[in-house]
């Protein structure tokens, strides 16, 4: 058993926007993750420390926080990744309002999700069945790995630093839009919304969302950029616009 130092954000009891870092020193065991350490602090030194968690297996996306300044899942971040002498700083997500200590209010994300036109299937085949080939589903299956931890939303500088929540839906929902737009059986047209309301042009593809994704979804290359290219097809490429008019390209699979 060894000692480790932590610097944890604690909010004020009366004003949740105010607060301070509080230092804790605890004994840690080998194999512990940051969430274990937070729980030990909670159990022995700060019973009122608030932290959201659930599965402890990197699959529920609840324990998102910033550890040494980097957005991470606390349950997947082992203590031995840090130098033993280093003080580990733990903070709540920056992009969302703080409820208490390490817990933030991420409900803005649920509101964005509701704005997205749902899956609208084509007519079934003559026998009443829908059929897709594996080649058609491979691409969208990557997007289905999302656990909605909102680390990508938190690190996106458009939301985090420029407070453009009214103009950009964020990487998580660009991925959801991509999964619907690229779906071989879907026939809804979301491109005008993607450009205007969801703000594809606000993303300057600096890939921080991809860097922090715990599911290793290639958010930028496979989701956002293809959507930006579809917006270009529709609005910024006269040749493609003409081609689509002649061939009905936008309506084709």
């Amino acid at each position: 058993m060894a000692e480790r130092k932590f610097r944890v954000w604690r909010s004020d009891a009366e004003n949740k926007d105010a607060g301070s870092f509080v230092d804790y020193t605890i004994d840690v065991d080998s194999g512990m993750v940051v969430l274990d350490a937070i729980h030990r602090i909670q159990a022995h030194q700060a019973n009122d420390l608030a932290v959201r968690w659930n599965c402890k297996a990197g699959k529920c996306g609840s324990c998102s926080m910033e550890i040494n300044g980097r957005p991470k899942l606390a349950c997947m971040n082992r203590l031995n990744e840090y130098d033993p002498a280093e003080t580990i700083t733990v903070q709540p997500l920056k992009s969302f309002p703080i409820i208490k200590d390490l817990v933030t209010d991420v409900s803005w994300n649920f509101e964005q999700n509701q704005k997205i036109a749902p899956f609208k299937p084509k007519l079934p085949e003559a026998d009443g069945q829908y059929r897709m080939k594996q080649a058609d589903t491979d691409r969208v299956q990557e997007f289905r790995k999302c656990i909605e931890c909102y680390l990508c939303q938190n690190v996106c500088h458009v939301l985090r630093d420029h407070q453009q929540k009214d103009n950009f839906v964020g990487p998580r929902f660009m991925i959801r839009l991509a999964s619907l737009e690229m779906h071989p059986l879907d026939r809804a047209d979301r491109i005008p919304q993607i450009r205007k309301e969801f703000g594809s042009g606000m993303c300057n593809i600096t890939k921080c969302c991809t860097e922090v994704c715990p599911e290793h979804i290639n958010i930028t290359d496979n989701g956002i950029i293809p959507l930006k290219e579809r917006v270009v097809d529709r609005y910024y490429d006269p040749v493609m616009w003409m081609w689509n008019k002649i061939t009905g390209g936008d309506k084709q699979g």
């Binding site: 954000w9 926007d17 105010a18 607060g19 301070s20 870092f21 509080v22 230092d23 910033e66 040494n68 300044g69 980097r70 957005p71 280093e86 700083t89 903070q91 997500l93 920056k94 703080i98 080939k133 080649a135 058609d136 690190v155 500088h157 458009v158 985090r160 630093d161 420029h162 453009q164 950009f168 737009e181 690229m182 779906h183 071989p184 879907d186 703000g199 042009g201 606000m202 993303c203 300057n204 593809i205 600096t206 890939k207 921080c208 860097e211 922090v212 930028t220 290359d221 950029i225 293809p226 290219e229 579809r230 917006v231 270009v232 097809d233 609005y235 910024y236 490429d237 084709q252 699979g253």
Partner: protein, 276 residues
């Protein structure tokens, strides 16, 4: 020990962060790399000489549109697509064929999705300087929806880049023939690698990947779509390492120019199977 901080302990000032890793190394190396290439390419473009030797033509100057035959290390007149240097050319600019060329690959790289990430991070206004490192404050951040709307023209730059791949591949092929004699020299290997690396970079381009198949929703709906799915899959393989292709091809195209320049100036000897 408690200390007062902004909400959540997140400072709002430009470049503020709580990261303990060396996040700034990447943007710094990017800035140095792009600056070094920019300075060298500009210098090389302004030379207007020593871009041709034997069967080697510098990729910065290919294809030769007009030629100033009196310049040292320039090709004979029949190499130029439109002949001798025109009289209308402004006197304050050197007679350099590179001025007709570099704007095309320059625009292709400037609007490239990888390079956009690279220079948005490493060049002011740093949007952002690093992940979870505070961006420079802006009155109203508009991303690529206003001033930078032209980035959407990347695919047009791609069309030109594809033409250049054909031209540079032809140059590489021709570099193995001198006075009608098949041979090989270090320069021909350099130009062959150059065309290969530029092809790897261009064919892994996000716009190319989209146009070749990514824009389809159903890959299996017709034989044409199945073929495009195969091409899309190949472009995806290249696209996964787009950053690597971007840097290696950038370095090599500069090196190819430098090599031919050195050989043409007589500073380096080109080892080859011909006699000169």
């Amino acid at each position: 020990m408690a200390q007062a901080h902004e909400a959540g302990g997140h400072a709002q000032a430009f470049r503020s962060h709580n990261r303990t890793d060396n996040w700034w190394i990447g943007p710094l190396l990017t800035f140095l790399g792009l600056s070094a290439f920019g300075v060298y390419a500009t210098w090389a473009a302004f030379q207007g000489a020593h871009y041709f030797h034997g069967s080697y033509l510098s990729p910065f100057y290919s294809p030769v549109i007009f030629v100033e035959e009196t310049a040292a290390g320039s090709p004979p007149l029949h190499h130029a697509w439109l002949g001798a240097w025109p009289g209308w050319w402004p006197g304050f600019l050197p007679h350099s064929p590179a001025f007709f060329i570099l704007v095309f690959p320059g625009f292709f790289r400037f609007t490239c999705y990888y390079y956009r990430k690279a220079y948005y991070r490493s060049v002011p206004p740093h949007t952002p300087p690093g992940c979870a490192v505070t961006s420079m404050p802006q009155k109203k951040y508009m991303g690529e929806s206003r001033l930078l709307l032209f980035q959407n023209l990347h695919r047009y730059a791609l069309y030109f880049a594809l033409i250049f791949i054909v031209i540079l591949s032809y140059d590489a092929f021709k570099s193995f023939f001198r006075d009608g004699q098949l041979g090989v020299g270090v320069g021909s290997i350099v130009l062959l690698i150059n065309a290969t690396l530029l092809a790897g970079y261009t064919l892994g381009c996000h716009s190319f990947r989209h146009l070749i198949g990514g824009r389809l929703n159903c890959f299996s709906c017709s034989s044409g779509h199945e073929l495009r799915h195969k091409l899309w899959s190949k472009a995806t393989i290249l696209n996964r390492k787009h950053m690597l292709w971007a840097w290696v091809s950038l370095f090599w195209v500069g090196f190819a120019d430098l090599y031919i320049r050195m050989v043409s100036m007589g500073i380096l000897k080109d080892f080859n199977t011909w006699t000169n």
